[in-house]
């Protein structure tokens, strides 16, 4: 793993105007962090803490209100076209196009990137096979189970061979057994293909299972706790787990007081 930062946030804030005109809502508050090439970073936080807003800023789907967000040295929102084929996203839902077969869904990114059709189809088929979906190429999404659909969406993200993979709670809607299998599969694929991955989750165990590093977010999004787990021994993992629970517990208590 190189130490070159591939994603860098420097005092990034995102403020939304409330639709009813009752002032502003701060989703991300002076967030700073760096993610290096080849790292798998799990971002952990409670629902509504701004994880997905941070995710959308990295993906270039929303613009930071202030601060500097850089992905491979470029602004992901303003230099939108620069990132063609460089970022792959696995969303919370599978987000498959219902009118496309499993194969055509995996082909989508490749077609958008104008890949040679023969090569694109071979790549898409190979990814479906790697994810255990050989024989389901012609199935429409409605004919697939939740786990299979999420596998198709993982194949779609990997097929374009992106440098960075962004995952927004991709397995949260699946049963624990399926989610565990897919998590293992996902980590294996990221490592094998030497990708950088940002994995958003609200589950402590999932974050600790996947992440080389875990970032715990406050609400609004800024880092409340950070720990490196790659190569860590059991004692450190236990300690990190307890610390994360403490931070999240304190967050919940603060939120409760604020609500009260």
């Amino acid at each position: 793993m190189s130490s070159e930062p591939i994603i860098r946030f420097n005092d990034v804030s995102k403020v939304f105007r409330r639709p009813d005109g009752r002032g502003d809502f701060v989703a991300v508050d002076k967030l700073s962090f760096e993610i290096c090439k080849g790292e798998i970073v799990a971002v952990l936080g409670k629902t509504g803490c701004g994880k997905s807003t941070m995710f959308n800023i990295v993906a270039g789907l929303t613009e930071a209100t202030s601060g500097e967000a850089r992905v491979v040295g470029h602004d992901p929102f303003r230099e939108f076209d620069f990132f063609r084929g460089k970022i792959g996203i696995v969303f919370q839902g599978d987000r498959l196009m219902p009118w496309r077969t499993a194969l055509d869904n995996v082909l989508l990114g490749l077609q958008i990137l104008d890949t040679d059709p023969t090569q694109a189809e071979a790549t898409a088929r190979a990814w479906l096979t790697r994810l255990g979906l050989a024989g389901h190429e012609s199935d429409y999404p409605h004919a697939l189970s939740g786990g299979m659909r999420q596998r198709v969406s993982i194949a779609r993200a990997f097929a374009v061979d992106p440098e960075i993979l962004l995952c927004d709670e991709p397995f949260s809607a699946l049963d624990e057994m399926t989610a565990r299998d897919l998590r293992a599969e996902f980590v294996r694929l990221v490592r094998q293909n030497n990708k950088t991955a940002v994995f958003i989750t609200h589950q402590v165990n999932e974050a600790m299972e996947i992440g080389d590093r875990v970032l715990v977010f406050h609400r609004p999004a800024r880092i409340a706790y950070e720990t490196r787990l790659a190569g860590a021994d059991e004692a450190h993992r236990h300690e990190a787990h307890d610390e994360i629970m403490k931070v999240l517990g304190a967050e919940a208590a603060t939120a409760g007081l604020a609500a009260g």
């Binding site: 993906a59 939108f80 990132f83 969303f91 839902g93 196009m97 219902p98 077969t101 989508l108 958008i112």
Partner: protein, 256 residues
């Protein structure tokens, strides 16, 4: 065992047979210039279909319907895309279309006769003006119902405008477009007859006017049936296209 499709077809046929039987009973009670017998209507209908000089009028009306609908579809599609992308344009265009929607078809016929000379242009103008608002609003609705999730997912691959249009927007609005065609087809068939009644020298509407002048009820029914048959054939064609295009949709085994 009879399939549900066959049952539906039989039920539809039964309804039509009852209607024909009632008409036949009426023809026995009233004079033929009011209620001509069913066989006479069928004979006249077939006569129109197999007589080249008469079939031309049916085809002329069909051509006018398609021309008007196609014009309104293209114009409505462009307007829907413009409105869909700009709130300001929506504020300008929507009230005008709503105003147009409130103008009766007959008023457009009068305007067309006063403004234009050419018969074909008059009919085209009337057809476009009467179906344009519906096409625009239906395509706009389909465009607006596009899933934000799918939009973001597609945008994450950084598509070019045309690619986004081809891969996401067209498949999303296609069901809405097909519905718009089905709905507007019926409206167009009604409007074209009014337009032809008043200002044309050919077509089903013109022939209906002639039957009225001749006091020929069998002829009036035969020409009306031409239009009904035309609408049914086109509706079935659109249904078949829709079934093929939307074949990806899951169907519950339990019938509604």
């Amino acid at each position: 065992m009879i399939g549900s499709r066959t049952v539906r077809a039989l039920q539809a046929a039964a309804g039509m047979i009852v209607l024909a039987a009632l008409w036949q009973i009426m023809s026995m009670i009233f004079p033929p210039f009011l209620f001509p017998p069913v066989p006479q209507i069928i004979t006249r209908t077939v006569e129109v279909l197999i007589t080249g000089s008469l079939l031309v009028d049916v085809l002329l009306t069909a051509w006018r319907i398609f021309g008007g609908l196609f014009g309104a579809f293209i114009l409505g599609g462009v307007l829907a895309l413009v409105i869909g992308q700009s709130r300001t344009m929506e504020n300008y265009i929507t009230p005008v279309l709503t105003f147009f929607q409130g103008i009766p078809a007959l008023s457009w016929v009068v305007f067309a006769i006063i403004w234009f000379h050419g018969i074909e242009f008059r009919v085209l103008f009337i057809m476009v003006m009467t179906t344009l608002p519906a096409f625009t609003f239906q395509i706009l609705d389909a465009f607006r119902s596009m899933s934000k999730d799918l939009f973001e997912m597609t945008m994450s691959f950084r598509p070019r405008r045309w690619t986004l249009f081809r891969f996401l927007i067209v498949p999303t609005i296609l069901p809405g477009i097909l519905t718009a065609w089905k709905v507007n087809l019926g409206n167009a068939a009604r409007v074209v007859v009014v337009a032809e009644l008043v200002g044309a020298t050919g077509g089903v509407g013109y022939q209906l006017l002639r039957q009225q002048q001749l006091f020929d009820m069998a002829g009036a029914m035969a020409w009306t049936l031409q239009l009904v048959l035309f609408v049914l054939v086109v509706q079935q064609t659109i249904n078949a296209i829709e079934a093929w295009v939307l074949r990806y949709r899951a169907v519950s085994e339990r019938a509604m």
